[in-house]
Protein backbone atom coordinates (compact mmCIF):
# COMPACT_ATOMS: atom_id res chain seq x y z
CA UNK A 1 0.00 0.00 0.00
CA UNK A 2 2.71 2.38 1.01
CA UNK A 3 4.63 1.55 -2.12
CA UNK A 4 1.66 2.53 -4.26
CA UNK A 5 1.27 5.75 -2.35
CA UNK A 6 4.93 6.53 -2.93
CA UNK A 7 4.60 5.92 -6.67
CA UNK A 8 1.41 7.95 -6.77
CA UNK A 9 2.99 10.80 -4.86
CA UNK A 10 6.08 10.82 -7.05
CA UNK A 11 4.13 10.73 -10.27
CA UNK A 12 1.74 13.40 -9.00
CA UNK A 13 4.58 15.75 -8.15
CA UNK A 14 6.17 15.02 -11.50
CA UNK A 15 2.93 15.72 -13.32
CA UNK A 16 2.43 18.95 -11.39
CA UNK A 17 5.93 20.08 -12.28
CA UNK A 18 5.39 19.23 -15.94
CA UNK A 19 2.08 21.11 -16.05
CA UNK A 20 3.60 24.13 -14.37
CA UNK A 21 6.53 24.11 -16.75
CA UNK A 22 4.39 23.79 -19.84
CA UNK A 23 2.00 26.48 -18.59
CA UNK A 24 4.76 28.90 -17.75
CA UNK A 25 6.39 28.20 -21.10
CA UNK A 26 3.15 29.03 -22.87
CA UNK A 27 2.64 32.23 -20.94
CA UNK A 28 6.20 33.29 -21.79
CA UNK A 29 5.57 32.93 -25.49
CA UNK A 30 2.36 34.93 -25.31
CA UNK A 31 3.97 37.56 -23.09
CA UNK A 32 6.82 38.03 -25.52
CA UNK A 33 4.50 39.01 -28.32
CA UNK A 34 2.38 41.30 -26.13
CA UNK A 35 5.43 42.95 -24.58
CA UNK A 36 7.08 43.42 -27.95
CA UNK A 37 3.97 45.06 -29.36
CA UNK A 38 3.44 47.40 -26.43
CA UNK A 39 7.05 48.36 -25.72
CA UNK A 40 9.22 47.79 -28.79
CA UNK A 41 7.05 47.70 -31.93
CA UNK A 42 6.81 51.47 -32.14
CA UNK A 43 10.47 51.65 -33.14
CA UNK A 44 11.60 48.10 -33.95
CA UNK A 45 10.56 45.44 -36.42
CA UNK A 46 11.84 41.90 -35.93
CA UNK A 47 13.01 41.42 -39.51
CA UNK A 48 13.47 44.94 -40.93
CA UNK A 49 15.26 48.14 -40.02
CA UNK A 50 12.73 50.71 -38.89
CA UNK A 51 13.21 53.66 -36.55
CA UNK A 52 15.66 51.38 -34.80
CA UNK A 53 17.62 48.38 -36.14
CA UNK A 54 16.05 45.02 -37.03
CA UNK A 55 16.22 42.81 -33.97
CA UNK A 56 16.68 39.38 -35.55
CA UNK A 57 20.26 38.18 -35.28
CA UNK A 58 20.81 40.13 -32.07
CA UNK A 59 22.52 37.13 -30.47
CA UNK A 60 25.39 37.11 -32.94
CA UNK A 61 26.14 40.80 -32.57
CA UNK A 62 26.98 40.99 -28.87
CA UNK A 63 27.89 38.59 -26.02
CA UNK A 64 25.19 37.24 -23.73
CA UNK A 65 23.94 39.65 -21.13
CA UNK A 66 24.75 42.81 -23.10
CA UNK A 67 21.13 43.28 -24.12
CA UNK A 68 19.92 43.47 -20.50
CA UNK A 69 22.28 46.37 -19.80
CA UNK A 70 21.30 48.11 -23.03
CA UNK A 71 17.55 47.89 -22.44
CA UNK A 72 17.84 49.09 -18.84
CA UNK A 73 19.90 52.18 -19.67
CA UNK A 74 20.96 52.68 -23.29
CA UNK A 75 22.29 56.15 -22.56
CA UNK A 76 24.72 54.92 -19.93
CA UNK A 77 26.40 52.20 -22.05
CA UNK A 78 29.67 53.35 -23.57
CA UNK A 79 31.27 50.19 -25.00
CA UNK A 80 32.38 50.47 -28.66
CA UNK A 81 29.38 48.56 -30.05
CA UNK A 82 26.90 50.77 -28.19
CA UNK A 83 28.69 53.91 -29.41
CA UNK A 84 28.63 52.63 -32.98
CA UNK A 85 24.90 51.95 -32.65
CA UNK A 86 24.27 55.46 -31.38
CA UNK A 87 26.19 57.00 -34.26
CA UNK A 88 24.45 54.86 -36.88
CA UNK A 89 20.94 55.67 -35.58
CA UNK A 90 21.66 59.27 -34.74
CA UNK A 91 18.60 60.50 -36.63
CA UNK A 92 16.28 58.44 -34.44
CA UNK A 93 17.82 59.53 -31.15
CA UNK A 94 18.87 57.22 -28.33
CA UNK A 95 16.47 54.42 -27.50
CA UNK A 96 14.01 54.98 -24.64
CA UNK A 97 15.15 53.17 -21.49
CA UNK A 98 12.98 50.37 -20.13
CA UNK A 99 14.29 49.79 -16.59
CA UNK A 100 10.95 48.23 -15.68
CA UNK A 101 11.57 45.22 -17.97
CA UNK A 102 12.84 42.16 -16.10
CA UNK A 103 15.39 39.73 -17.50
CA UNK A 104 12.85 36.98 -18.16
CA UNK A 105 10.61 39.50 -19.92
CA UNK A 106 13.45 40.58 -22.19
CA UNK A 107 14.16 36.88 -22.86
CA UNK A 108 10.51 36.38 -23.82
CA UNK A 109 10.61 39.37 -26.18
CA UNK A 110 13.80 38.19 -27.87
CA UNK A 111 12.38 34.68 -28.21
CA UNK A 112 9.34 36.13 -29.97
CA UNK A 113 11.66 38.17 -32.20
CA UNK A 114 13.70 35.11 -33.17
CA UNK A 115 10.63 33.05 -33.99
CA UNK A 116 8.88 35.84 -35.89
CA UNK A 117 8.08 35.21 -39.53
CA UNK A 118 6.52 37.91 -41.74
CA UNK A 119 2.93 37.16 -42.71
CA UNK A 120 2.48 35.99 -46.29
CA UNK A 121 0.64 38.49 -48.47
CA UNK A 122 -1.94 36.92 -50.73
CA UNK A 123 -2.65 38.87 -53.88
CA UNK A 124 -6.26 38.97 -54.90
CA UNK A 125 -7.25 37.99 -58.43
CA UNK A 126 -7.31 40.86 -60.87
CA UNK A 127 -10.73 42.20 -61.64
CA UNK A 128 -11.15 42.22 -65.40
CA UNK A 129 -14.95 42.39 -65.64
CA UNK A 130 -15.20 46.08 -64.84
CA UNK A 131 -16.27 47.31 -68.24
CA UNK A 132 -19.15 44.85 -68.76
CA UNK A 133 -21.99 47.25 -67.96
CA UNK A 134 -20.77 49.77 -70.54
CA UNK A 135 -20.67 47.07 -73.23
CA UNK A 136 -24.25 46.08 -72.44
CA UNK A 137 -25.72 49.54 -72.89
CA UNK A 138 -23.92 49.90 -76.23
CA UNK A 139 -25.31 46.54 -77.34
CA UNK A 140 -28.85 47.61 -76.44
CA UNK A 141 -28.40 50.85 -78.38
CA UNK A 142 -27.25 49.00 -81.50
CA UNK A 143 -30.11 46.48 -81.19
CA UNK A 144 -32.64 49.32 -80.91
CA UNK A 145 -31.27 50.95 -84.04
CA UNK A 146 -31.35 47.65 -85.97
CA UNK A 147 -34.94 46.98 -84.94
CA UNK A 148 -35.97 50.53 -85.86
CA UNK A 149 -34.38 50.08 -89.30
CA UNK A 150 -36.15 46.73 -89.81
CA UNK A 151 -39.48 48.26 -88.78
CA UNK A 152 -38.93 51.12 -91.21
CA UNK A 153 -38.09 48.73 -94.11
CA UNK A 154 -41.11 46.54 -93.30
CA UNK A 155 -43.35 49.61 -93.35
CA UNK A 156 -42.00 50.52 -96.81
CA UNK A 157 -42.44 46.98 -98.08
CA UNK A 158 -45.94 46.94 -96.68
CA UNK A 159 -46.98 50.12 -98.47
CA UNK A 160 -45.45 48.88 -101.75
CA UNK A 161 -47.27 45.56 -101.52
CA UNK A 162 -50.51 47.35 -100.70
CA UNK A 163 -50.09 49.48 -103.78
CA UNK A 164 -49.47 46.39 -105.97
CA UNK A 165 -52.49 44.55 -104.61
CA UNK A 166 -54.65 47.62 -105.05
CA UNK A 167 -53.56 47.93 -108.69
CA UNK A 168 -54.43 44.29 -109.27
CA UNK A 169 -57.95 44.86 -108.01
CA UNK A 170 -58.11 47.92 -110.19
CA UNK A 171 -58.15 50.66 -107.64
CA UNK A 172 -56.01 53.44 -108.92
CA UNK A 173 -53.49 54.92 -106.46
CA UNK A 174 -51.26 57.86 -106.96
CA UNK A 175 -47.49 57.31 -107.00
CA UNK A 176 -46.36 56.86 -103.35
CA UNK A 177 -44.64 59.83 -101.75
CA UNK A 178 -40.98 59.10 -100.93
CA UNK A 179 -40.48 58.84 -97.18
CA UNK A 180 -38.42 62.01 -96.88
CA UNK A 181 -41.36 63.96 -98.27
CA UNK A 182 -43.96 62.04 -96.31
CA UNK A 183 -45.56 64.55 -93.95
CA UNK A 184 -46.09 62.04 -91.15
CA UNK A 185 -42.42 61.04 -91.10
CA UNK A 186 -41.29 64.66 -91.36
CA UNK A 187 -43.59 65.71 -88.54
CA UNK A 188 -42.39 62.88 -86.31
CA UNK A 189 -38.80 63.81 -87.10
CA UNK A 190 -39.36 67.49 -86.36
CA UNK A 191 -41.10 66.72 -83.05
CA UNK A 192 -38.32 64.30 -82.13
CA UNK A 193 -35.63 66.87 -82.89
CA UNK A 194 -37.56 69.57 -81.05
CA UNK A 195 -37.90 67.41 -77.94
CA UNK A 196 -34.24 66.38 -78.07
CA UNK A 197 -33.02 69.91 -78.67
CA UNK A 198 -35.27 71.28 -75.94
CA UNK A 199 -34.02 68.68 -73.49
CA UNK A 200 -30.37 69.43 -74.15
CA UNK A 201 -30.90 73.19 -74.25
CA UNK A 202 -32.72 73.28 -70.90
CA UNK A 203 -30.38 70.76 -69.32
CA UNK A 204 -27.38 72.78 -70.44
CA UNK A 205 -28.93 76.04 -69.25
CA UNK A 206 -29.64 74.60 -65.80
CA UNK A 207 -26.14 73.18 -65.66
CA UNK A 208 -24.52 76.54 -66.39
CA UNK A 209 -22.61 77.59 -63.30
CA UNK A 210 -23.11 74.22 -61.63
CA UNK A 211 -20.10 71.99 -61.58
CA UNK A 212 -21.44 68.65 -60.45
CA UNK A 213 -18.94 65.85 -61.14
CA UNK A 214 -16.18 68.40 -61.77
CA UNK A 215 -12.99 66.42 -61.22
CA UNK A 216 -9.92 68.45 -62.10
CA UNK A 217 -6.39 67.07 -62.22
CA UNK A 218 -4.63 68.19 -59.05
CA UNK A 219 -0.93 69.11 -58.77
CA UNK A 220 -0.38 66.07 -56.54
CA UNK A 221 -2.41 62.89 -56.79
CA UNK A 222 -3.82 62.90 -53.27
CA UNK A 223 -6.06 59.92 -52.55
CA UNK A 224 -8.77 60.34 -49.92
CA UNK A 225 -9.25 56.56 -50.13
CA UNK A 226 -5.77 56.04 -48.71
CA UNK A 227 -5.84 58.80 -46.09
CA UNK A 228 -9.43 59.08 -44.85
CA UNK A 229 -10.50 55.54 -45.78
CA UNK A 230 -7.77 52.97 -45.16
CA UNK A 231 -5.73 54.98 -42.65
CA UNK A 232 -8.78 56.36 -40.84
CA UNK A 233 -7.44 59.89 -40.49
CA UNK A 234 -10.27 62.16 -39.34
CA UNK A 235 -11.44 64.71 -41.92
CA UNK A 236 -10.88 67.40 -39.30
CA UNK A 237 -7.22 66.47 -38.87
CA UNK A 238 -6.44 68.21 -42.15
CA UNK A 239 -9.56 70.33 -42.66
CA UNK A 240 -9.73 71.46 -39.02
CA UNK A 241 -10.90 74.97 -39.85
CA UNK A 242 -14.19 73.51 -41.05
CA UNK A 243 -15.34 73.63 -37.43
CA UNK A 244 -14.07 77.16 -36.78
CA UNK A 245 -14.54 79.18 -39.93
CA UNK A 246 -16.31 79.72 -43.17
CA UNK A 247 -13.78 77.65 -45.09
CA UNK A 248 -12.93 73.99 -44.66
CA UNK A 249 -9.27 74.91 -44.85
CA UNK A 250 -6.95 73.23 -47.28
CA UNK A 251 -4.10 71.97 -45.08
CA UNK A 252 -0.82 73.77 -45.44
CA UNK A 253 2.17 71.61 -46.30
CA UNK A 254 3.34 71.33 -42.68
CA UNK A 255 0.21 69.30 -41.88
CA UNK A 256 1.12 66.81 -44.63
CA UNK A 257 4.64 66.68 -43.27
CA UNK A 258 3.41 65.69 -39.79
CA UNK A 259 3.17 62.16 -41.16
CA UNK A 260 5.20 62.29 -44.36
CA UNK A 261 8.38 63.19 -42.50
CA UNK A 262 8.33 59.50 -41.67
CA UNK A 263 6.36 58.05 -44.59
CA UNK A 264 8.42 58.44 -47.74
CA UNK A 265 7.17 55.41 -49.66
CA UNK A 266 3.68 54.35 -50.62
CA UNK A 267 3.20 50.74 -49.55
CA UNK A 268 -0.53 50.67 -48.89
CA UNK A 269 -2.97 48.01 -50.06
CA UNK A 270 -5.02 50.38 -52.25
CA UNK A 271 -4.26 50.54 -55.95
CA UNK A 272 -3.73 54.15 -57.00
CA UNK A 273 -5.42 54.93 -60.26
CA UNK A 274 -6.51 58.03 -62.09
CA UNK A 275 -10.01 58.35 -63.46
CA UNK A 276 -8.86 57.27 -66.94
CA UNK A 277 -7.28 54.11 -65.53
CA UNK A 278 -3.60 55.09 -65.60
CA UNK A 279 -1.70 53.82 -62.59
CA UNK A 280 -0.18 56.31 -60.18
CA UNK A 281 3.17 55.88 -58.46
CA UNK A 282 2.41 56.83 -54.86
CA UNK A 283 6.05 57.22 -53.90
CA UNK A 284 6.64 59.69 -56.75
CA UNK A 285 3.65 61.72 -55.56
CA UNK A 286 5.14 61.87 -52.03
CA UNK A 287 8.39 63.11 -53.58
CA UNK A 288 6.42 65.93 -55.21
CA UNK A 289 5.23 66.87 -51.72
CA UNK A 290 8.85 67.01 -50.52
CA UNK A 291 9.61 69.44 -53.36
CA UNK A 292 6.83 71.76 -52.19
CA UNK A 293 7.80 71.42 -48.53
CA UNK A 294 11.49 72.00 -49.08
CA UNK A 295 12.28 68.73 -47.33
CA UNK A 296 15.37 66.71 -48.00
CA UNK A 297 14.25 63.05 -47.73
CA UNK A 298 17.82 61.72 -47.65
CA UNK A 299 19.15 63.98 -44.89
CA UNK A 300 15.68 63.86 -43.27
CA UNK A 301 15.55 67.56 -42.54
CA UNK A 302 14.23 70.77 -44.07
CA UNK A 303 16.52 72.57 -46.46
CA UNK A 304 18.30 75.64 -45.11
CA UNK A 305 16.60 79.02 -45.33
CA UNK A 306 19.40 81.03 -46.90
CA UNK A 307 17.24 83.78 -48.41
CA UNK A 308 15.59 84.49 -45.03
CA UNK A 309 11.96 84.39 -46.14
CA UNK A 310 10.87 82.21 -43.25
CA UNK A 311 10.49 78.99 -45.24
CA UNK A 312 13.07 76.47 -46.46
CA UNK A 313 14.59 77.45 -49.81
CA UNK A 314 12.47 76.29 -52.74
CA UNK A 315 9.42 75.61 -50.59
CA UNK A 316 6.14 76.93 -51.90
CA UNK A 317 2.45 76.33 -51.28
CA UNK A 318 0.71 73.65 -53.33
CA UNK A 319 -1.77 75.18 -55.74
CA UNK A 320 -4.66 72.77 -55.43
CA UNK A 321 -7.42 73.34 -57.94
CA UNK A 322 -10.54 74.54 -56.21
CA UNK A 323 -13.43 72.20 -56.98
CA UNK A 324 -16.39 73.46 -54.98
CA UNK A 325 -17.23 77.02 -55.91
CA UNK A 326 -20.35 78.85 -54.84
CA UNK A 327 -21.25 82.03 -56.71
CA UNK A 328 -19.97 85.19 -55.05
CA UNK A 329 -23.52 86.20 -54.12
CA UNK A 330 -24.02 83.16 -51.90
CA UNK A 331 -22.68 82.99 -48.37
CA UNK A 332 -21.89 79.54 -47.06
CA UNK A 333 -20.25 78.86 -43.72
CA UNK A 334 -18.76 75.46 -42.89
CA UNK A 335 -18.65 75.93 -39.12
CA UNK A 336 -22.39 76.66 -38.99
CA UNK A 337 -23.09 73.34 -40.64
CA UNK A 338 -20.44 71.20 -38.91
CA UNK A 339 -20.38 72.56 -35.38
CA UNK A 340 -23.94 73.84 -34.97
CA UNK A 341 -25.87 71.76 -37.48
CA UNK A 342 -23.76 68.67 -36.68
CA UNK A 343 -23.75 67.60 -40.31
CA UNK A 344 -21.35 64.94 -41.53
CA UNK A 345 -18.91 65.91 -44.27
CA UNK A 346 -20.39 63.12 -46.39
CA UNK A 347 -23.84 64.73 -46.43
CA UNK A 348 -22.67 67.25 -49.01
CA UNK A 349 -19.37 65.83 -50.24
CA UNK A 350 -20.50 62.24 -50.77
CA UNK A 351 -18.36 59.24 -49.90
CA UNK A 352 -15.19 61.26 -49.89
CA UNK A 353 -13.29 58.46 -48.11
CA UNK A 354 -13.72 56.34 -51.23
CA UNK A 355 -12.58 58.94 -53.77
CA UNK A 356 -9.18 58.54 -55.36
CA UNK A 357 -9.56 61.84 -57.14
CA UNK A 358 -12.11 64.16 -55.59
CA UNK A 359 -15.09 65.28 -57.61
CA UNK A 360 -18.02 67.49 -56.75
CA UNK A 361 -20.67 65.13 -55.48
CA UNK A 362 -23.63 67.49 -55.06
CA UNK A 363 -25.07 70.01 -57.48
CA UNK A 364 -24.64 72.82 -54.91
CA UNK A 365 -27.72 74.33 -56.51
CA UNK A 366 -30.12 76.50 -54.56
CA UNK A 367 -32.85 73.88 -54.74
CA UNK A 368 -30.50 71.32 -53.24
CA UNK A 369 -29.68 73.63 -50.30
CA UNK A 370 -33.28 74.59 -49.69
CA UNK A 371 -34.40 71.00 -49.79
CA UNK A 372 -32.04 70.04 -46.97
CA UNK A 373 -33.09 73.11 -44.96
CA UNK A 374 -36.71 72.05 -45.31
CA UNK A 375 -36.01 68.57 -44.00
CA UNK A 376 -33.32 69.01 -41.32
CA UNK A 377 -34.58 69.17 -37.74
CA UNK A 378 -33.21 71.79 -35.35
CA UNK A 379 -31.45 70.50 -32.23
CA UNK A 380 -32.92 72.84 -29.61
CA UNK A 381 -31.32 73.64 -26.27
CA UNK A 382 -32.34 71.12 -23.68
CA UNK A 383 -32.31 72.52 -20.15
CA UNK A 384 -32.37 69.09 -18.52
CA UNK A 385 -28.97 67.90 -19.84
CA UNK A 386 -27.80 71.26 -21.30
CA UNK A 387 -27.23 69.91 -24.78
CA UNK A 388 -28.31 71.41 -28.07
CA UNK A 389 -28.22 74.84 -29.60
CA UNK A 390 -28.75 77.81 -27.28
CA UNK A 391 -28.99 80.31 -30.12
CA UNK A 392 -32.59 79.50 -30.82
CA UNK A 393 -33.80 79.66 -27.22
CA UNK A 394 -36.11 82.52 -28.22
CA UNK A 395 -37.99 79.92 -30.15
CA UNK A 396 -39.02 78.25 -26.96
CA UNK A 397 -42.54 78.75 -28.17
CA UNK A 398 -41.99 76.06 -30.75
CA UNK A 399 -40.60 73.91 -28.01
CA UNK A 400 -43.66 74.40 -25.87
CA UNK A 401 -45.89 73.78 -28.85
CA UNK A 402 -44.21 70.45 -29.35
CA UNK A 403 -44.62 69.70 -25.68
CA UNK A 404 -48.30 70.53 -25.90
CA UNK A 405 -48.62 68.35 -29.00
CA UNK A 406 -49.53 71.31 -31.24
CA UNK A 407 -46.55 70.52 -33.49
CA UNK A 408 -44.60 67.34 -34.02
CA UNK A 409 -41.35 68.89 -35.26
CA UNK A 410 -39.86 72.19 -36.46
CA UNK A 411 -38.12 72.47 -39.80
CA UNK A 412 -35.26 74.83 -40.64
CA UNK A 413 -37.62 76.71 -42.90
CA UNK A 414 -39.81 77.67 -39.92
CA UNK A 415 -36.96 79.46 -38.17
CA UNK A 416 -36.00 81.46 -41.23
CA UNK A 417 -33.87 78.93 -43.11
CA UNK A 418 -35.35 79.91 -46.46
CA UNK A 419 -35.12 83.69 -46.06
CA UNK A 420 -33.31 85.14 -49.07
CA UNK A 421 -30.87 87.11 -46.92
CA UNK A 422 -29.58 83.98 -45.22
CA UNK A 423 -27.59 83.31 -48.34
CA UNK A 424 -27.84 86.41 -50.54
CA UNK A 425 -26.57 89.66 -49.11
Amino acid sequence: MSRFRKIFNKSFVGLLLLTCLSLSHKSFAADGEALFKSMCANCHKPDKDYTGPALQGWKDRQPDGWIYKWVAAPGALIDPYASALKTKWKASGIMTAFPQLKKDEIDAIMKYVDEYKPPVVVEGPKNSNDKNTDGNSLLFGVLTLVFALIAFILLQVNSNLKKLSDEKIGVYRSEPVPFYKNKTYLMAGVIGLFALGGYFAIDGAIGLGRMQNYQPVQPIYYSHTVHAGTNQISCLYCHGTAQDSKHAGIPSVNVCMNCHKSIAKYEGPDKLEREDGTAVNGTAEIEKLYEYAGWDPIAKEYKADKNNDGVPDGAKPIQWVKIHNLPDHVYFNHSQHIKVGKQQCQTCHGNIQEMGEVYQFSTLSMGWCINCHRESKVDFFNKADSTGNKFYSIYEKFHNDIKNKKLDSVTVEKIGGTECQKCHY
Binding site: G93, G209, S252
Partner: protein, 209 residues
Protein backbone atom coordinates in the same frame (compact mmCIF):
# COMPACT_ATOMS: atom_id res chain seq x y z
CA UNK B 1 -30.71 72.95 -100.61
CA UNK B 2 -31.54 75.40 -97.81
CA UNK B 3 -33.43 72.70 -96.03
CA UNK B 4 -30.44 70.36 -96.00
CA UNK B 5 -28.23 73.13 -94.64
CA UNK B 6 -30.79 73.86 -91.91
CA UNK B 7 -31.05 70.22 -90.88
CA UNK B 8 -27.27 69.91 -90.88
CA UNK B 9 -26.86 72.99 -88.73
CA UNK B 10 -29.45 71.77 -86.21
CA UNK B 11 -27.74 68.39 -85.96
CA UNK B 12 -24.37 70.06 -85.50
CA UNK B 13 -25.77 72.26 -82.73
CA UNK B 14 -27.29 69.27 -80.95
CA UNK B 15 -24.03 67.34 -81.16
CA UNK B 16 -21.97 70.29 -79.89
CA UNK B 17 -24.25 70.91 -76.93
CA UNK B 18 -24.41 67.26 -75.95
CA UNK B 19 -20.70 66.57 -76.28
CA UNK B 20 -19.28 69.37 -74.11
CA UNK B 21 -19.35 67.58 -70.76
CA UNK B 22 -15.68 67.24 -69.83
CA UNK B 23 -15.29 66.30 -66.16
CA UNK B 24 -11.91 67.96 -65.91
CA UNK B 25 -13.23 71.39 -66.96
CA UNK B 26 -15.28 73.45 -64.54
CA UNK B 27 -17.90 74.31 -67.14
CA UNK B 28 -19.46 77.60 -68.19
CA UNK B 29 -21.13 80.21 -66.03
CA UNK B 30 -23.64 82.96 -66.75
CA UNK B 31 -21.87 85.96 -65.23
CA UNK B 32 -18.26 85.52 -64.14
CA UNK B 33 -18.22 88.71 -62.06
CA UNK B 34 -21.10 87.40 -59.97
CA UNK B 35 -19.50 83.99 -59.50
CA UNK B 36 -15.84 84.74 -58.87
CA UNK B 37 -15.26 87.19 -56.06
CA UNK B 38 -13.65 90.52 -56.83
CA UNK B 39 -13.00 90.91 -53.13
CA UNK B 40 -10.32 89.12 -51.12
CA UNK B 41 -11.41 85.55 -50.63
CA UNK B 42 -9.46 82.61 -49.19
CA UNK B 43 -8.07 80.18 -51.77
CA UNK B 44 -9.44 82.20 -54.68
CA UNK B 45 -7.05 83.22 -57.41
CA UNK B 46 -5.34 86.53 -56.99
CA UNK B 47 -6.07 89.04 -59.66
CA UNK B 48 -2.40 89.32 -60.45
CA UNK B 49 -2.58 92.80 -61.94
CA UNK B 50 -4.17 94.22 -58.82
CA UNK B 51 -2.85 92.37 -55.83
CA UNK B 52 0.49 90.73 -56.30
CA UNK B 53 3.64 92.59 -55.42
CA UNK B 54 5.69 91.63 -58.41
CA UNK B 55 5.34 89.48 -61.45
CA UNK B 56 7.87 86.82 -60.44
CA UNK B 57 6.24 86.49 -57.07
CA UNK B 58 2.89 85.95 -58.71
CA UNK B 59 4.22 83.24 -60.96
CA UNK B 60 6.09 81.36 -58.31
CA UNK B 61 3.96 81.14 -55.26
CA UNK B 62 1.37 83.79 -54.76
CA UNK B 63 -1.33 83.43 -57.40
CA UNK B 64 -3.81 82.52 -54.73
CA UNK B 65 -4.60 83.46 -51.16
CA UNK B 66 -3.06 80.67 -49.13
CA UNK B 67 -3.25 80.30 -45.39
CA UNK B 68 -0.44 82.32 -43.91
CA UNK B 69 1.21 82.04 -40.54
CA UNK B 70 0.18 84.71 -38.06
CA UNK B 71 2.21 87.90 -37.90
CA UNK B 72 5.07 87.50 -35.43
CA UNK B 73 4.31 88.82 -31.98
CA UNK B 74 0.55 89.02 -32.45
CA UNK B 75 -1.94 87.22 -30.24
CA UNK B 76 -5.33 86.13 -31.51
CA UNK B 77 -8.39 87.39 -29.62
CA UNK B 78 -9.16 85.07 -26.72
CA UNK B 79 -5.86 83.24 -27.16
CA UNK B 80 -3.44 82.53 -24.29
CA UNK B 81 -0.18 84.44 -24.27
CA UNK B 82 2.87 83.10 -26.01
CA UNK B 83 5.43 81.11 -24.04
CA UNK B 84 8.85 82.37 -25.06
CA UNK B 85 10.68 79.09 -25.46
CA UNK B 86 13.02 78.32 -28.28
CA UNK B 87 12.71 75.36 -30.60
CA UNK B 88 15.90 73.61 -29.47
CA UNK B 89 17.26 71.50 -26.63
CA UNK B 90 17.66 74.53 -24.36
CA UNK B 91 14.00 75.46 -24.81
CA UNK B 92 13.06 71.82 -24.32
CA UNK B 93 14.96 71.57 -21.06
CA UNK B 94 13.54 74.88 -19.95
CA UNK B 95 9.98 73.91 -20.79
CA UNK B 96 9.35 71.74 -17.74
CA UNK B 97 8.95 74.78 -15.52
CA UNK B 98 5.88 76.06 -17.35
CA UNK B 99 2.67 75.34 -15.51
CA UNK B 100 -0.52 74.30 -17.24
CA UNK B 101 -2.77 77.40 -17.06
CA UNK B 102 -5.90 75.36 -17.75
CA UNK B 103 -6.42 73.94 -14.28
CA UNK B 104 -10.16 73.74 -13.91
CA UNK B 105 -12.27 72.28 -16.62
CA UNK B 106 -15.88 71.19 -16.82
CA UNK B 107 -17.11 67.83 -18.05
CA UNK B 108 -17.98 69.43 -21.40
CA UNK B 109 -14.52 70.91 -21.78
CA UNK B 110 -12.91 67.56 -21.06
CA UNK B 111 -15.18 65.94 -23.64
CA UNK B 112 -14.11 68.63 -26.13
CA UNK B 113 -10.46 67.95 -25.26
CA UNK B 114 -11.10 64.25 -25.87
CA UNK B 115 -12.63 65.04 -29.25
CA UNK B 116 -9.58 67.13 -30.19
CA UNK B 117 -7.29 64.35 -28.97
CA UNK B 118 -9.08 61.74 -31.06
CA UNK B 119 -8.92 63.90 -34.19
CA UNK B 120 -5.33 65.10 -33.94
CA UNK B 121 -3.46 62.65 -31.71
CA UNK B 122 -5.45 59.41 -31.67
CA UNK B 123 -4.51 58.55 -35.23
CA UNK B 124 -0.97 57.74 -33.99
CA UNK B 125 -1.06 57.62 -30.18
CA UNK B 126 -4.24 55.55 -30.11
CA UNK B 127 -7.59 56.21 -28.50
CA UNK B 128 -6.25 55.16 -25.10
CA UNK B 129 -2.78 56.65 -25.52
CA UNK B 130 -1.14 53.27 -26.02
CA UNK B 131 0.79 54.35 -29.10
CA UNK B 132 -1.21 51.99 -31.30
CA UNK B 133 -3.37 54.25 -33.50
CA UNK B 134 -4.31 53.27 -37.07
CA UNK B 135 -1.15 54.71 -38.67
CA UNK B 136 1.29 54.26 -35.78
CA UNK B 137 2.83 51.29 -37.57
CA UNK B 138 3.68 53.43 -40.60
CA UNK B 139 5.16 56.41 -38.74
CA UNK B 140 7.32 54.47 -36.30
CA UNK B 141 8.62 55.53 -32.87
CA UNK B 142 5.15 56.60 -31.76
CA UNK B 143 5.19 57.24 -28.03
CA UNK B 144 3.13 54.99 -25.79
CA UNK B 145 1.83 57.76 -23.55
CA UNK B 146 1.07 55.31 -20.75
CA UNK B 147 4.76 54.52 -20.17
CA UNK B 148 6.20 55.86 -16.87
CA UNK B 149 8.44 58.19 -18.87
CA UNK B 150 5.41 60.08 -20.15
CA UNK B 151 3.41 59.79 -16.93
CA UNK B 152 6.17 61.65 -15.13
CA UNK B 153 6.81 64.13 -17.97
CA UNK B 154 5.69 67.63 -16.99
CA UNK B 155 2.83 69.41 -18.76
CA UNK B 156 5.27 72.11 -19.85
CA UNK B 157 7.52 69.64 -21.67
CA UNK B 158 4.53 68.04 -23.38
CA UNK B 159 3.42 71.51 -24.44
CA UNK B 160 6.86 72.13 -25.94
CA UNK B 161 6.62 68.88 -27.91
CA UNK B 162 3.12 69.74 -29.13
CA UNK B 163 4.22 73.23 -30.16
CA UNK B 164 7.48 72.43 -31.91
CA UNK B 165 7.25 68.68 -32.52
CA UNK B 166 9.63 66.04 -31.22
CA UNK B 167 11.50 63.34 -33.16
CA UNK B 168 8.99 61.93 -35.69
CA UNK B 169 6.16 64.10 -34.43
CA UNK B 170 5.47 67.38 -36.17
CA UNK B 171 4.34 70.68 -34.73
CA UNK B 172 0.66 70.92 -33.90
CA UNK B 173 0.72 74.67 -33.41
CA UNK B 174 -1.15 75.18 -36.67
CA UNK B 175 -3.89 72.71 -35.79
CA UNK B 176 -4.46 73.37 -32.08
CA UNK B 177 -4.31 76.81 -30.46
CA UNK B 178 -2.50 77.23 -27.15
CA UNK B 179 -5.52 76.64 -24.95
CA UNK B 180 -6.49 73.57 -26.95
CA UNK B 181 -2.97 72.16 -26.55
CA UNK B 182 -3.14 72.53 -22.76
CA UNK B 183 -6.62 70.99 -22.81
CA UNK B 184 -5.37 68.00 -24.78
CA UNK B 185 -2.54 67.53 -22.28
CA UNK B 186 -5.13 67.48 -19.49
CA UNK B 187 -7.03 64.82 -21.42
CA UNK B 188 -3.87 62.71 -21.85
CA UNK B 189 -3.46 62.83 -18.06
CA UNK B 190 -6.89 61.23 -17.69
CA UNK B 191 -5.81 58.38 -19.99
CA UNK B 192 -2.56 57.68 -18.18
CA UNK B 193 -2.30 55.33 -15.21
CA UNK B 194 -1.81 57.21 -11.93
CA UNK B 195 1.90 57.61 -11.24
CA UNK B 196 3.28 56.06 -8.07
CA UNK B 197 6.13 58.15 -6.59
CA UNK B 198 8.69 55.35 -6.82
CA UNK B 199 7.96 54.72 -10.48
CA UNK B 200 8.17 58.38 -11.31
CA UNK B 201 11.61 58.53 -9.74
CA UNK B 202 13.04 55.64 -11.71
CA UNK B 203 11.58 57.02 -14.93
CA UNK B 204 13.09 60.45 -14.43
CA UNK B 205 16.47 58.82 -13.88
CA UNK B 206 16.01 56.82 -17.04
CA UNK B 207 15.12 59.89 -19.08
CA UNK B 208 17.92 59.94 -21.57
CA UNK B 209 16.58 61.95 -24.44
Amino acid sequence: MNKIINIGLTLLAVITVSSCSNKQKPGKIYMPDMTYSRAYETYSLLDTTNFSINREDAENRRNAFFNASPVKGTVKRGELFLIEDTNDSIGYANSSKHVNPVTTFTKDELAEAGRLYNINCGVCHGEKGGGNGPIAGKIGAVANLNLPLYVSMTDGTMFHSLTYGKNNMGSYASQLDRKQRWMVINYVRTLQPKASPAKADSASVAKTK
